[in-house]
Structure formats: structure tokens, C-alpha cells
Symmetry: D3
Subunit: 240 residues, 6 copies
């Protein structure tokens, strides 16, 4: 079934949909530095693409809630163009939306985040835990599409491939090629492990953690399909 955008429905249409127990997708992105080659909205366009594809493949009804295109960014926070929500702002925002969806009778929700930072994901999960504890019949899945994409590391891609690297660059080449500005750089530099520092950007001036130069559109298509397939199966297994 072709998934509908939640906010293109009228109030009555939405009310009717609730009666069919739809899966509601909430795609979450970020405005974050992604090397010299990728746009700031890289983490938004990926989950919005994935969510549309997955929703279309589900056998039952699905709705796509308006996307959140701001997230919490730590390591990249000082690069120009990164707009980071605090942990508290992000958690409050997501928890508020989840509560409102619940209040409206929604009982199946999937949050897909294109950004996968530790605090960012913890904010989403903490928001979710707070809601499921009060709505025990809610089935709520929270993940990053990179939880699936990084399953491909080690074989085809370097085990250290990460932020704005080969996998991410390939995916954007497949989704919005016009936004890829140039060939990406290769770099595995990172801030020292376990150290919290006011200037993490100094440890990886390229803004890349991986082999962006090895990206290709064909790889991106394969990765995206891998994620779409994997997420579709996860939803069928856990939310049916």
C-alpha cells in the first residue's frame, strides 16, 4: 500500500485511519557537517527516503508523520552549519510527539533516525521509555538506519567506516545525487577515545570518518535496499 503523509489527511480522514491501527513512522534527521562533499541535511534525507520505501512495502496501513530535521550533534558541533538541539530539547520534542500520537489512539510507532550519535539516540530512547511505561499497549521501535547500514561494515566496507564515509556518501549519491558536491575525502582520524573535549573537530579537520572517496551510487542503492528490506522485516516481526 502507498503510505500516506499524516499531515495531508483531514481530521476526519485521520480519525478513520486510527481505526485501522496504522504504523506511524517518525523520521528524524539533523543539520550537521558532513565533510566537504555532503549537505548539512544528509541525516534528514536518508531516513525520510527509507521510511517512505518501507511504509510502501508494508501490507497494512501506514502513515508518515512530519519529519524532524534537527538533532543532537556532539562531535561535529563546532563545524560551521551544525545546528544542535540539546539532549533535553530533543527528548522533550520526541516525547511530546509520541504522547500526542498515543493520545490520538496510535498504537504502533517506528522512529527512524538518520543521525546515530550516542546522546542523540539516548534522547530518543529515553523519550520512548518514558512513553511506553505509561502506555503499555504501545509498540514502539526506535533505531537509526545506520544500525542496519553498519551491519555491512567489515566485509565490503572498512570496519571503521563512519560519519560521512563510504557508506553514507554512497547512500546520498543514490538518494539525492544533485546534493553531492564533490568527491569525498578519506580519513580515519578521530578524537581520542573516552576523552570529552571542547574542540573535537580539531582531531578530524576533514569532518569525515571513513573512505568517502570509495563511495558510489551503485553501492548506495544496494545499501539502501539492504536497509529497506531489513527494516521491513523487523517491523513485520515485531509490530504485526
Amino acid at each position: 500500500m502507498t503510505a500516506k503523509r499524516l499531515d495531508e489527511l483531514s481530521t476526519a480522514e485521520f480519525g478513520k485511519m486510527v481505526g485501522k491501527d496504522p504504523v506511524v513512522f517518525l523520521p528524524i534527521g539533523a543539520v550537521e557537517e558532513h565533510g566537504a562533499h555532503l549537505p548539512l541535511g544528509t541525516d534528514s534525507l536518508q531516513p525520510e527516503y527509507i521510511v517512505q520505501k518501507v511504509a510502501d512495502r508494508l501490507p497494512g496501513p501506514a502513515l508518515i508523520a512530519p519529519p524532524l530535521r534537527y538533532g543532537n550533534c556532539v562531535t561535529t558541533r563546532n563545524f560551521p552549519g551544525t545546528i544542535s538541539l540539546s539532549f533535553d530539547t530533543l527528548r522533550a520534542l520526541v516525547q511530546n510527539i509520541l504522547e500526542e500520537l498515543c493520545r490520538n489512539g496510535i498504537r504502533r510507532i517506528v522512529i527512524v533516525s538518520g543521525h546515530a550519535g550516542g546522546a542523540h539516540m539516548a534522547a530518543l530512547r529515553t523519550a520512548g521509555e518514558n512513553v511506553v511505561d505509561k502506555a503499555p499497549d504501545l509498540r514502539l521501535m526506535v533505531l537509526s538506519d545506520y544500525d542496519l547500514a553498519y551491519e555491512l561494515r567489515g566485509a565490503e566496507f572498512d570496519p571503521r567506516d563512519g560519519h560521512a564515509g563510504a557508506i553514507e556518501t554512497s547512500r546520498v549519491m543514490a538518494i539525492r545525487p544533485g546534493l553531492v558536491k564533490k568527491k569525498g575525502q578519506n580519513s580515519f582520524d578521530r578524537p581520542p577515545k573516552y576523552m570529552l573535549t571542547p574542540h573535537p573537530e580539531r582531531y578530524f579537520p576533514t569532518g569525515v570518518m571513513g573512505e568517502a572517496g570509495k563511495a558510489s551510487q551503485a553501492k548506495g542503492r544496494r545499501i539502501n535496499e539492504y536497509i529497506v528490506k531489513g527494516l521491513t522485516e523487523l517491523i513485520k516481526a515485531n509490530l504485526s
Copy 2:
């Protein structure tokens, strides 16, 4: 100049743009009941449309930040499909984004909200006041496109025309005609003045406050042009 979407820039492109002192637009919408004829996202699509048109007409550089498509809704909160952020969530979100834009060197910002509820606008303004007090060289404009649209009430439109009424319906007919589901209803019913009630929706079961039935695409085009022109002038007068 054709305005760019902020998150389609790379970090370096954004950094370069900051040097040109661009006007950054932040469009804010809502997910809110809008009668039987308009979509829940009515308040999002209007300011996103307006902001693009205005930004294109400005003589200098402009950027459009990713839109917020959730707002604070009071009177309509119990209709199916309304997803309301609390005052605190909305204020924190907007203040956080403004602070991050300031931290990035942005000095001219225009917030345009399609939703014009009292608490919603107070949240936006309180967020803004908190930021300007700490960034005195920031020039910040906060308004609803309805601050301008409602200047047309009294002459062509009923002085009481409001939520999902003739003006709003006409505008959506001009911007996204495919999302107008049917002919709108006419109603001026409202909750009693000054009373705070847990069930305001009972006082206007149509969800309409105005003469939606008198809407037309041509009227919508005229209204939108009136807003675009008015806002462009306001920005030239106050942010140049």
C-alpha cells in the same frame, strides 16, 4: 536571488554564506484539525510557500532553515489528528535553534508561523526575547503570515473570518489545491470568550471559524501575493 535551503549546503558553503550576512527564514507550522476540507498540515504549507517566495524576492542572500511542522494548539487540541507541542517544548525548540543560528554567526532571522494561536505565538516570542537579550546585534522578526492576511478582514472578508475560514481555505486552494478535500463549511461558532475549558471543540463541532464556503483559488492567490509583498517590504524596512 533564488533562496537556498540551508541544509542543502555543505559546511563550507554555509560558512561562506555566513560571511555574506544572509537573512535566515524559519517557517513554523502545525499538525492541527482544519475542518473537514483542509489537511492537518495546513499551517505548515502556507508559511513554507510564503517564505520561499519572499526569500526569492529579496535583493540580498537568504537561506531557508528546515521547517518545524509541529506547533502548539489549544482550542483544537481534542479534534482527531491535532498533535500539539506544549508551550515549553515549542519554546525550547525555537530558542535552541535561534541560539545555534546565532552561534554560527547568523545575524538576521525571520520566523514565519502559519499557526497564529495566542500561546503558540507567545512561545515563539518568548524564545526570541530570550535570545535577543543575549545577542543584542541580532535582528529578529517574529510573525504569523496571518498577522498580514487578517489585515484583509473587514473589507473583502468577514471581520470574524478565522481558523479554516474563507481566507485560509482560499490560500490552500492556491498553494496545494490537491489537498483541499471538499467544499468548506460556514460557521462562526466559538467557545465562550475568556472561558478556559477542557472541551473547546464542543463549541464549534465543524472545526471551522469563518466562511470556508466562500473560498476560491483566485482569492487565495491574491491573499498570498498580499502577504508576500507585505512581508518583503517589512524585511526590507527592518532587516536591511
Copy 3:
């Protein structure tokens, strides 16, 4: 009936009153610049006067809760003597008092604010919404006496008459003539519309928005009577 001051009752007298389902009035003021001619407490003395008169005219039992004489002031915040509560402080204070009145069994409450700033009123209303949602049998009215007073603009008074202007000055001349220090000034200057600025006071150095020079005690008596009558009718219509 002559209305009683809530805190002049003993615990037992209060308990007995609750059984009669009294209307409880909560007058709210401010400490705020009001031109060279009016005292900082202008916004406190007006609603305290009105509330006493209205309560006395009601057919049933009424109580007047201790007044709040601090409010949230934005535009005037930098004039000497303005003491502004933040939005959060004001909302918490009012919500706390409303919750306690409810816990005590009070079911009819009228908040009358002499200050009518946008954020100030939004704080009162947000506090009130939070309470009615949890106490659905509470009947709660929230307004400024200026919601009624400004109905007189356009005819006898300039449509732009506002802060410390003809209407307000007249009212204080009628209520506490000894506190009117001199003849008021006339000025319609204001900060530019929609702009949030760290120094709004620079745009209206007189601190007056209206024709204070046209005020008179006789006008003030008429305005006050208009408000008392209007509010009495509103309460009879909505809280009986």
C-alpha cells in the same frame, strides 16, 4: 452581597464558604513603568478595584483571593522600576494557586489582570489550561480588564490608545487620584511591529502609548463602570 477577602476568613469559615460554591476572584497586577504621571502599581490597583465592585454586585457568594502584584513585562522591561517576573515564574505561581484552590474544593474562579501584555496573558492562560484539563468541573475565566476597556476604543478614545494612555490614566484618576503625579503626555510611538529588540524602550521614551493628556476622572468613572458592568454580566452568563 458584600464580597469577603479570602484570607480574612478562618479555616472553619473558609470551609463553610466552600460548601456554598463561591466565585473566587484572583486579581493580578504588575510593577511596571507607566509614564511620568502614573505609579508603578497602576496595573495592580485597577483589577483590585474592579474585582471588589464586581464581587459586591454578584447575587451569590464570592471571595477575593490575595492579589498578585507582580507580572510579566516585556516592552517596558528596561524602564526604571519595572520588576518583571519571567513567563515561567508567573505561570508556575498562578498554576500553583489555581491547583490549591481546586484542592480546597473551589469550582468557580475568575482571574482579572490589570496588565495585558501578550506573554503575560499567555502565561495566565497556559496556567489555566493546565489546571482545567485536570479539573474538568472547574469553571475558569481569565481576562484582563483591558479586554473590556479597549472595547471603548474607536469611538470616544483613539483606536491606538494603549499603555498609560487616555483610558488607563482616566481610570487611575477615578480610583486613586492621589497617585496621579502630573498631567500625562500624548504619544503614539512604538517599537517596530514584529521586531524583537533588546531595547524596546528606545522607541517610546515617554513610556506612554496614547493620549494621556486627554484623560479625566469623569471618563475614568465611566470606563470603570463599563468594565464592572460588563464583567458582572460575563460572570452571570458563564459561571452561574
Copy 4:
């Protein structure tokens, strides 16, 4: 000098007064059960009376800020008519007012609370500490008039005399005799020491902790004079 009420000044008069470095008094009360014989506002009328007398006796300029007539009440919270602000609300309110007075250039402040509960006083002191740490030239005194009144226990009054007892009843008889409803009761019952309980009122159903029956107007006059004198000396010693 006769002390002025802060909010009876105009903005210009206030600005002029600031230049003379006035002592600003902030009287704080409560709405709280006080036995069958005293009014709910007992804790408000006492410090307002004291503050006026002390301010009048000071050699230099003094202002009396609008009183707060709501406080935090723990042990009496379940008696009819007690309206208790939470610790957080009270602290935020007092801190906000102190910050605003500081912002206005005030450098000498005396808070006198008629209510002397442990959490209530801790809220006032915590608010004060937060402010003095950021305004090191502020001289801030925070006390209850009962800090002085209870110095008289042990000799003329029972060492256990407390809430609504002989001292308090006498004081109200001297300040507002018309509000004393009947002869007070004698009782020294209290909740068990160190136990926190949801129903402390069950342990002292009279709502009195002391020998209210031994109160007299003459005693009240003496006590009040003792407080006025003591506080005047404290201020001369510490704030000159």
C-alpha cells in the same frame, strides 16, 4: 522618615530613589490555617505591619515592595483554606523579584516573612544565596519576624509556644483586632518528631500549637514593639 510604597512611585521617582541607595523591604506572608480564632492571612498582616514600622524608623530612605501573600506550608497543608506554594514556585518567585531589584540598582534588601516553616525559609534563603553569589555587592537580610518573636519564649511565654499560639494571637490582637474571631484554644499537640506524614493535621486537630487562650492585645503590642526595635537595630548594624 516615612517609608514609601515602591509601587506608588512613578518610574522617574523610583529612578531617583535608587540613587539614594534605599533599603527595600519585601514582606512575605501565607494563606494558612491558624486555628479557629485567627484568619488565614495571619502570616501576611504581621510582617506588613512590622516592615512599615521599621521602615519609618530608619534614618535613611526606604521602600516597601508589594507584599507576597502566599507561602509554602507543610504541616498545615490539609486544613481548609491553606493555599501552599511549592518550594520551587516560592523560590523562583522570590529569586526573580530579587534579581529584578538588583537589575534596577537596588543594593540593600530585607526580606521579612511572617511564616517561618522550615522549607518556606529554606526557599527564601536558597533564592537569596543564588542572588548574592552573582551580586556580591548586594547586602541581603532574610528572616522571619518570628526569629525575633520567639526570643521571648521561655520567660513570659511557654518555651513550646508556636503556630497560632499565645505570641501569634497576641500580635494579631494588636494589629488587626477585628480579625480575631474568638478566644483561642490551648494545645501543644504536634506530629511525631522527624516523621514525614501525609496527614500531619491529624496530630493537632485544633490547628494550634501553643496557649492561644493566654493571648492579649497588650502582650501583642509589647511583642510587636520588641520585633520592630530588634529588626531596626539589626538593619542599622548590618545594612548601613
Copy 5:
């Protein structure tokens, strides 16, 4: 019975203990300056010692929860080594632990704090009040071991003996003699009464308020036994 440390039990052992309705002790200390002769952890080691002794003497089952060794310190906050939790942090921490103990089925709790500052104790009590209001069958005692120790002032010890004075020094000499660094000083200097000041330490540079020089181990043993006996009786009287 020998009291067990709560966190030395396994989940199953704990579950079994809950069925026996144990008294749970929560000892709370501080990291705070205590003169030149006592360690920063003085306020931690005392209640941990007391609690173990009392728990061992109770006829029924008891558990000792992991101690909190950080508290809220006001007057000593600027001496080297004082690590003060804010009022809010301390209250949140204690309230959170109490709520979790309740959720686990614990119904008898005794909090013993070695630090006895006004705001510190108010934080503990406010946390406790918040919990008992929602768990009315909880029996909760909150006190400082100094509530009992100071009953000995006036006779054997100076009525003004306090922080790091004769009583406290004696107690540490009895509990951990190896941590007493030298003979303590005698001083009764204090910050001026009722004044809140950014530098209270300037008024008592020794960091001592009492006659530390008169301390002895034998006195400490007697004081500690007095406290242990007194607290055991209080618990038997109120929590059986």
C-alpha cells in the same frame, strides 16, 4: 539482628527480604571543610557508623542502602575541598531513591544525615514529603544525628557548640581516630545572623564553630551511644 547491606544481596535475596518488611536506612553525608583537624568526609562517616549500630540493635529485619556521601553545604562552600550539591540535585537524588525503594515494596525508611545544614535538611524533607504524599502507607523518618547529639548541648557542652566543635570532634575521635589530624581549635565566630553573603567563610576563618580543643574520644563514645540509643528508641516508637 545483624543488619545487611542492601547491595550485597542478590535480586532474589532482596525480593525475599521485602516480604519481611525491613527497615531500610539511607545514610547521607557530605564532602565539607571541617576545620584543620577533621577530614572532609566527617559528615559521612558519622551517620554510616550510627546507622550500622542502630540497625544491628533493632529486633526486626533491617537493610542499609548504599550511602550518599555528597550533600548541600552553604556556609562552608568556599573553603577548599567542599563539594556541594545544589538543593535541586540533592532533593532529586533523594526523592528518586525513595521512589525506587517504594516501587520495590519498601514501606519503612529512615534517612540519617550527618550534615545538618538548613537547606540540606529542607532538601531531604521536601524530597520525603513529595514521596509520602503519593505513598501514604510509607513510614518515613528524616533526621540528622545532630538533632539528637545537640540535645547534649547546654550541660556538658557549650550551648553554642556546632560545626567541627567539641561534639563533632569527639565523635570522629571515637569512630575513626586515625582521621583526626591534630588538636582542634576553639572558636565561636560566625557570619552575622540573617545576612546572606557570598563569603561566609571570612567570618570564621578557622572553619570551626565550637570548642574542638575540648574534644575527647571518651566523650565521643558517650555521644555516639546516646545517639544510637535515642534513634533506636525513636524507630521502635514510630516505625514498628
Copy 6:
């Protein structure tokens, strides 16, 4: 050098130590179900042990701050005996302590947590980020001893070994053998990936995620030594 316990120093001794720029260790644990065989305090005793050993091996001065023995537990929260701090409580507590250490002049801090849950670690890191952003000369390391211990998975231990499994059980056998109650169970059951559920415990009723039955004291000694060595090197590399 033998590391000292911070709160066993006097204020003067501490002040002197600050001048030597010591590394301060803050060990953080939890009260959390750990199978039928391990105590609730398992996550506390491990980092306290590690920190003592590492501090003793450092060439320069080191202090051990009083341990926090409560953490944030999500998956195990419903097992008897788990006492979980909320994300906010834990973050506030850790941030408060870090700020106070900074205020005291400490410039090198290592947080070692025995609990390694995602939200728990995010709380510690978010607290840390907030502090380093305001104290740029602070060198702050935040990690779990399991960040190092789990480097041993894959070879000697099952790659899925986790909570209360072979590694953890072995370590406790080496540190506090008397607290190991019985032979541990083997189980790799877990809640379904990415699903947030109100009852995660139903998916692993043993409370074990790993092969606890394969634990031994000898293995524990080796693991602990591996961690001590690794952490010592990390500190030498990053904090010297």
C-alpha cells in the same frame, strides 16, 4: 604512589594537593539485578576496585572521590532490587560534582562506571560535555571499565557475553568472592532489538546475558589486570 581518598583529607591537605594537579577518580556504580548469583552492588564494587589499583600505579598524585553507588538502569529496572536513578537525576548529580571539582581547581578527572547501559553512559557524557564546554582547560575522561573488559570478547569469551555473564562473574569472583552466592546460569536471551518495552525483564528471566557458568576467579584476575593496565596507559597517554 598510594592514592588517597579525597574525603579523608582535611580542607588544608586538599588545598595543598590541588596545587600538585592530581588526577581525581570518580567511581560510579549501580544498584541493579545481576542474576541469582551476583549482588545488587556488582557494578559498584568493580570500578571502586579498578580505580584504587590504577590510582596506585600512576606516577603522579591521585585522589579518589567518594563513589556514587546508584546509576540509571533500563533493561533490568523491573527486577527486585534495582534502584534506578532517572537520566536527569544522574546527569545533574555527576555534572554538579564535576562543576564543584572544577571550582576547587581540579583539572584532571577520570570517571569510571561499572554500569555501562546506553542511557547511563549518555548521562555521564552529557554531564561531562556540559562541563568541558565551560572549563576548556579541564581534561576529562569518561568510560566504563567494560569498554576495556569487552575488548576480550570474541577470543576467550563469547562475543555476546554481557550483563552478569562470564566476564562480570569472573571479575566479582576475583574482587569479592564472598559475595558470589552460587554458580551462575548461562543464557543469551534478550529483549527484541530496537523495541522499547515496559517489561524487558520478561525476555530474559534469568537476568543473565552470557555464560556466567563459565566464570572463574583466575579469569577474573586476568580481566581485572587487563583493565587496570589498559586504563593506566590511557591515563598516561591522555592526561599527562
